[in-house]
Structure formats: C-alpha cells, structure tokens
Amino acid sequence: MNVRIKGRRNNAAALICSSLVITISLFVALSGAAYCQEASAYPDLAARMKGEVATIEELTGGKAKIGDTIDKNNMDLVKEYLSPGMIECLNQGMVIRLGVNPKPTELVPSFFIAATEKNSTGVKMADEYGTIYMADGSKWKGGVPYPEPKDGLEAATNIKHGMVVDDLEQHGRLFYISKDGSVEKEYVNNTYLMRLNARMVVDPTPAVRGYEKELRRKIMGFEHPIEMAGVGQLSIRHYDEVATPDTGFSYVPAFKRTIRQSATTWQENVGGSDYLWCDSEGIADPFDYWKFKLLGKKYMLLPALKQEASIFHESFDKTGKLNEAVKFTVGRKFPEMNFAIVPTWVVEITPRIEHVYSKKILYVAAYPYWQIYFQAGLTECYDPAGELWKCIVESGSDIKVIDGEPYTIPWGPCVHDLQSGHTTLALLRSIVQQGLTVDRHCTLKTLVQFGR
C-alpha cells in the first residue's frame, strides 16, 4: 500500500519533473537566447577547429533560415545576435542575408594553424599593452597568441599579433556616401603593409634583419583626385610600443618632400572621410592609449567569411568598378552581404588618453574564424558624450588559395556614422604574400614614388 502510495507519489513527482523538463526543453528549443547564454553552448577551441558551431537556424529554432533576408521589419528574429550598431544600421536601411561560414580549414592556412598550436602555449604577456614574448624571451613567432583569451587584453592582442600574412598590398577606393546614399566623392589609394617580426612564409623569416625592433610598417598613398594625388603616409609600429612610440612620416605633393608627422594623428580622419586612421582593424592606434575589458563571449552575426560573389569587378584596380552581382540598399550605403553566426569575443576598450571616442566595442571573431586581418568583424565607436556614433562593418571577404593555402581576405571596412547618416565605404582589394621589402616598398623613398 505504502509502496503503491509511494509509487503513486513517485509517479506524480516523475510526472511533474517530466513536465518541467519537457517545458524547459521546449523553451530552450524555442529560445536561441537561452541557448547562447549557456557557457556550455559556446564552442571551445577543439569544437571550433572542427567547425562545430551553431547555425542561425539552430539558434532560432528554425525561425530564421539560411538564405533569409533580414531588414528592420523582421530583425527581431535574430536580434539576440545583432550588436546595437548593427540594429541601428538595419533601422537605417541595411539589408543582410543569413549565411554560414566555411570550415576553418578552408579559412586559415595550415602553417598558421600549426604556428598557433605550437606558439600559443608559450606566450607571455609583458605589459598591459599587448606586448608579448615567447617563454624564452624571444619575440612572438606567429599565429594567434591567445586562441582562448581570458580577458579583453588577450582578445585584442590577437588582433595586434595575429595577422595571417607577412605582407599585404592594397588597391583601395574610399567612397564618401551621403545620408541619402549618393556617392559624394571617390578617393583612390594604394597601401603596402609589412610585418617586420613573426614572419612565417615570405623571406626573410622570422624577422627582417635590422628592423627587429619594429612590429609592422604601413604606407599609404592617394592616387586620386588630383588634389589629393601623391599625399602619402608612412607609419611604423614598434614591437615595444611603449618604449618606442610610433614613428610617422607624410609626403605632401605641394611641398614635394617628406615630413615627419606626429603619431597623435591616429585620431585624424583619412582624407576627410568617416574613417579615422585608428579605426583600421578596430584598434590601429597604440595599445597604451586603451584599457581593455572582456564583456563576454557569445554567438554573433558577423559578416560571413565567404560571400556569394566578390564585390570587386575584375577591373576594380583601374576603374573602381564594383561587381554588379553585389546589390546595395540606400543608394551605395549598405552592400547586401551574407552574415553568419560566429563565436565572438566582445571587448570594450576605453581610452587612457584624451580621445575622440569615449569607448569602442570590438566584436572579435573567435579563432579560427580568422581573416588575414580586420578580425574585429564589427566595431562600435561611442562619441565623447557616450552615445553610439559609428558602426564599422568589416564587409565581406574573398577566400583565395595561394600555394595551396587558403587566405580569407576582407573587402575592407564600411564606416557608418549612425548620427549623421554619412558613410565611408573603404574597399581595398588586397594582394598578399607578394614578397614586399622594406627598402623598396615601405620607406620614405616609397612615399616619394607614390607622390607627384
């Protein structure tokens, strides 16, 4: 009797428990939000390396499907995976398509994966500014230093030291786009970027002799319009950027000579555009300008690492013509791109110095969802009053196979000023691993060659 009663009670308890489990399961299944908030749902490095990452369909319980178009009218479906800046972009007319990313082995070269596995175990952070060394005191040897960052500094340091390529040449166009989407101006520029340390493939490796104290050099010169043609800038980032602050030079055609330039120009805009020199890669200015805080890790919708079509027409370098297969909304303001779910580290950076931004939020893709650079797929910039000011969307990517290795090469950043409605679309067609040399491509003489 007691047994039966007990059994009955047990049956009742089991029924209640079962009902609760079913209810919770149904709730979880129907709510992607709850899924993504659970730490266990966020894939660890091993899972990510296998490509075991949830899709938007799984996260939304099938409400949003791959291939769906998202705009301001239906963005609630995926709102949990959108940043505030993206939500405002959608409100202002952006349209995105839901997509998926290729497998990691199709995104990142094998030598880079091997270097990350080998080197990340021995990395030591030397200061609060992302200066890292190997355990034996030698300089960083390449790869992503912190595949599982524990804090914001480590996540941001991955951007600083995790560039996949040894050199980069870019043929770029800056499109200045008004609030109504019309192209106001178009500037043409060329860029060379070289790593001086942690070089893995292109000779000389692992560092350029005589330049071991430098981390990277970047040189950019305008070609058009003629009023700007020849204006160029060379910036040098030192390995220990606190001990030796950045060095900068510029070439001014009106003077026909190179002049030294203050490194504080990181907060200057590029040719009057919405794009500041410090906006590149989310954080291009010195790390000692910033404090870092990891807000969390979560699934986010970031620009997919492979788009349906490249934005660059084959004649882009010469004509600036875009591939008509890529559609835009609001005139030329928002390219319609695929966005895919990416495990993301959300990092808040606040300035230590007087800065044009009161803070930035970097949405750093988790390795190995790793472009050759511009790994902060989204960056949000806040004005001095603390209001959301800009959303920088590192538009799409093309995957190119060079010597049998895949390289995920971004198109360039779209800088949306959410307050004024103005946009600068920086499209940079990149050529990588060319074998650039300091003396030919990244020195003051190069500025004169770029110049008029």
Partner: protein
C-alpha cells in the same frame, strides 16, 4: 606665332574631349590599361587691394590697378605605368593670362616671360606674351633592385621647412606670374629641369644602428635656369629700370653642370639628412667689368682724370656657382606632447652679394648660415563634432628662421640693392582646419620678420563633389621694414584671389 597657337588649341581640345568622354563611375580617365590621364582646369582671379606699384610707376603706369591676375590654366597629367618598376609621367600645361585685358590701368607686359629661344627645345614650351603651351614635367621612374632612378624634366625638393627655402635649392622659381602666393607654395612655380636623380637604399646598417639609410644624388647636365621674376608692367613687378648707363650682359650658365648628394636615415628615433650640392645661384649679382664709350646714355666717369668722354659701365649679371652644405633632423617628442621638432640648416661659404658703398656694382662673397627650427603638433581646438560632422585635429606649425651672414653688419647688398643686416629672423605660424568631411578647409599663415614686417595669408577652400573646388585666399604685406626683398616692401602686391578648379 601660328605654331604656338596651333599647339595650344590642339592640346586644349584634346584634353577637353578626353574629359568630356569620361564616365561618372571612373575616377580618372583610363586611356589604356596602363595609361591614364588626370588634371584640372582652373581660373584664377586676383583682386588688387594694395597701393600703387611704385616700380611700374617708374615705367609710366599712372594710376593704381584693380586686378593683379586673371589667368586660365588647363593642366593634364599623363601617366604610363605598365608595372610597379616603371612609370613615365608628363605634366602638360596650357595657360592664358589676360590680366591686361580686364584692367585698363596696367601697362602692356609679357605675362609669360619664362622662355628660351625656339632653337632650345629642352624647355619644351611655346608662348607669346599672353599664352603658353608647355610640357612642365616629363620624366620616367625606374626601379632596379634597391636603386630607384628618375630621369627627365623634374623638380627636386630637399629640406622640410614651410615658406622658406633652406636646402630646397636645386630648382629655381618662376615667380613671374604670382610670386609665391599660390596655396601649393612652390609646386606650381618651381621650374623643372632635365636631371638624373637616383636613390640607392642601403636600408639597415646594423653597425651604425641606422635604419632606412640611403644615398641620393642628382646631376643636371646643363638645363640651368635662373629665377624668373615678374617683368616691368606686371602688377607684381619688383624692380625699377636700371640706370641707362648700365650695359648689362646676362651671364647665364645654360650648358653647365650642377650636382648634389644627400644621405640620411633613422638613428634611433632621429631622422636626419646630410646634404651637399654644387649649384649656381638662382639670382644674379652685378659685377662691373669695364667701360665703353656711350655718347648718348653715358657718364663722364673719368672726367676727374682729364677724360671727358661719356662711358657706359660694362656689367655682368652673374650667377655664382656655390657650395651648399645642408643638414636636416627631426624627432617626435612622444605623446602626450606629440610634437614633431624639425631642424634644418644650410651653410653657403661663398654666397654672392652686392658690395655696399661701391659706386658701381661689385660682387662681394660672404658666407651665409641659415637655420630653422619648427614645431608641429596636431591639436584639438574645436569641439569634436559640429553640425553632425566630426571635426578633425587642427594642424599647427610654429617655425623660427634665422639668417646669419659673415662680415660686418650692413656691408652687403641683397635683393633690389637692399642693405643686409648681419642677422635676420623670421617666425612662421601656420594653422589649418578641415571641416565638413573636408568639404571645407580653413587656413591661416603668417610670416613675421622680426625687423617689423609681415605677411598674412588667410585662406578658405571649399570642395564640391569629386570635381569642383574653390580657393579664396588673401595675401597681405605690411610693416615698417620696407627694403627690397623684405615683406614690408611688397604691400603694393596685396590681394584677394579666388581660384575655381575643375579636376578630372
């Protein structure tokens, strides 16, 4: 005459046609895959706000004039770049100056005086008094390993200072049409010469702790051109007539050779250059070499010795070959100062001057040391946002220049026979602010001569779309120091000018 008119018309028509066929989507005109054309059409109108030009008064201009400059220019820049290692570049100019036509107070004058005999093809220009067609620059760039060569008609600008030419002494200036008042400073007026220029990049020299080291050299095999100033009658004319008994022979050095070297690099965080050049002075100095009987304009120079004959003085206008030793160095005082300090200096041990107190022109050699220290800092002055537009940093430059001459004070003569002090100091202040996504740029430059003379140069540039921009610039001179060659003496050139530019 017919020849230049045909060239001018043909060039202008070809450029205009090419521009008109340009599609909106193309930022520049691609003629082939590797040849492209850019350029601009510009009209400049300068309204005179100064006093009556005292030198033109000596030539017979009775009343003050209203316009300093009315000039149209079509410039095309043609580039052939088949590879990263080779480039050919040509800058073509077509100009027409019609200042005399819109201002009846002006005398007739040659507005295009920079010219050579038609037998000398190397200057590549054809002109009459109003119009000129020319190949302003024409060169090829060649990269051979670590050696970079530029061969052709080109400008070479060494040094780092604004508004003063300390080691920028390779090319002469054509100040004949707008003095040094153009916003681009010297770009449009530095006269290109046929030269070979080479830069060999040594890169890092570890034993010297040097980076980015290089050796640069140029040689001008004979395309020597002196400064060209405004001629009598030009609103900017700076010189009255010579005495009638001066029989002047211009001893130019066309056909002679100039050369120079520069080496530099980064030593820790100091970037430096060392310069040597052997060049001809761009301005002449007069040297009396003899006398010749001249019953019409002559003077009785030897009357006291019993010779009542009238003579003219035989005078050479000489451009002395000088040695110039130069040095530049810059360093950034790290943030939070974020200020770039630049030092530039030159020493010319055998500079040529006029001899003060001489009854007839004589050249006096005295060394001159010039140095300048500049501080440059981008600074936050305005709010970071105005009218929904982010405001970039304000560029501020403060520069001090001192000239130190050998010898006694006031024993030599400079431009226009002005007495030269033992030392002379200038302060240059420059500020520039971009606004409205660089649609608007506001600037102000002042050059202050500490002997009480100054130049003020406020400017506004408005850019509309990719194609159009307008510069509105004021240039005002004043001060008590009114000797020739000093800023106060140019108050008759004061003006406000507008430049309307369509670029393609």
């Amino acid at each position: 005459m017919r020849k230049w008119k045909s060239a001018l018309a043909l060039g202008a028509v070809v450029l205009a046609l090419l521009v008109s066929f340009t599609g909106e989507s193309e930022a520049r005109i691609m003629l082939t895959d590797s040849i492209y054309l850019e350029g601009f059409a510009r009209y400049t109108l300068g309204v005179h706000t100064g006093s009556h030009n005292p030198y033109n008064e000596l030539y017979g201009q009775d009343e003050n004039h209203d316009y300093n400059l009315a000039r149209a220019m079509l410039q095309g820049e043609l580039t052939y770049k088949p590879s990263q290692n080779f480039k050919a570049f040509a800058k073509l100019r077509f100009t027409h100056d019609h200042t005399q036509h819109i201002d009846g107070a002006l005398l007739d004058y040659n507005a295009q005086p920079l010219d050579v005999p038609s037998s000398d093809w190397t200057m590549m220009k054809m002109s009459n008094d109003e119009a000129r067609a020319e190949v302003w620059e024409l060169y090829t760039d060649l990269q051979l390993g670590d050696l970079w060569l530029r061969l052709g008609k080109q400008q070479i600008s060494w040094g780092e200072m604004i508004g003063v030419r300390i080691t920028d002494q390779v090319n002469a200036l054509d100040t004949s049409w707008h003095l040094t008042m153009e916003p681009e400073e010297y770009e449009n007026i530095r006269i290109p010469n046929w030269m070979l220029r080479g830069v060999y990049q040594f890169g890092a020299i570890e034993c010297l702790n040097l980076r980015d080291s290089y050796l640069e050299a140029f040689v001008n095999p004979g395309d020597i051109t002196p400064n060209q100033g405004p001629v009598p009658g030009n609103p900017y004319n700076q010189q009255g007539p010579f005495p009638a008994f001066f029989n002047i022979d211009d001893k130019d050095h066309r056909g002679d050779t100039e050369y120079g070297f520069r080496t530099g690099g980064m030593l820790n965080e100091f970037y430096f250059t060392l310069i040597y050049m052997k060049v001809f002075s761009d301005s002449y100095k007069l040297q009396t070499v003899g006398f010749t009987p001249d019953p019409v304009n002559g003077r009785p120079f030897f009357a006291a010795e019993g010779d009542p004959t009238l003579y003219s003085a035989l005078i050479d206008a000489r451009y002395k070959k000088v040695d110039v030793f130069g040095f530049t160095c810059n360093y950034e005082i790290p943030p939070p100062f974020g200020t770039v300090a630049t030092l530039e200096a030159s020493w010319t041990p055998d500079a040529a001057w006029g001899k003060a107190g001489a009854s007839l022109p004589e050249i006096e050699e005295q060394g001159e040391f010039v140095y300048s220290l500049a501080l440059n800092r981008p600074t936050t002055i305005l709010p970071r946002m105005i009218m929904g537009s982010p405001i970039p940093l304000t560029a501020i430059t403060l520069q001090f220049v001192q000239y130190i001459r050998e010898g006694e004070n006031r024993d030599i003569l400079g431009p226009g026979n002005s007495i030269m002090e033992h030392t002379q100091e200038l302060v240059v202040f420059n500020i520039k602010q971009d606004l409205l996504y660089r649609a608007l740029t506001v600037g102000f430059q002042t050059i202050i001569d500490l002997d009480d003379a100054y130049q003020l140069k406020p400017s506004i540039t408005y850019r509309h779309s990719d194609d159009w921009y307008v510069d509105l610039v004021g240039v005002f001179f004043s001060g008590a120091e009114t000797q020739a060659g000093r800023l106060g003496y140019l108050d008759y050139a004061d003006e406000i000018y507008a430049r309307f530019t369509y670029q393609f």
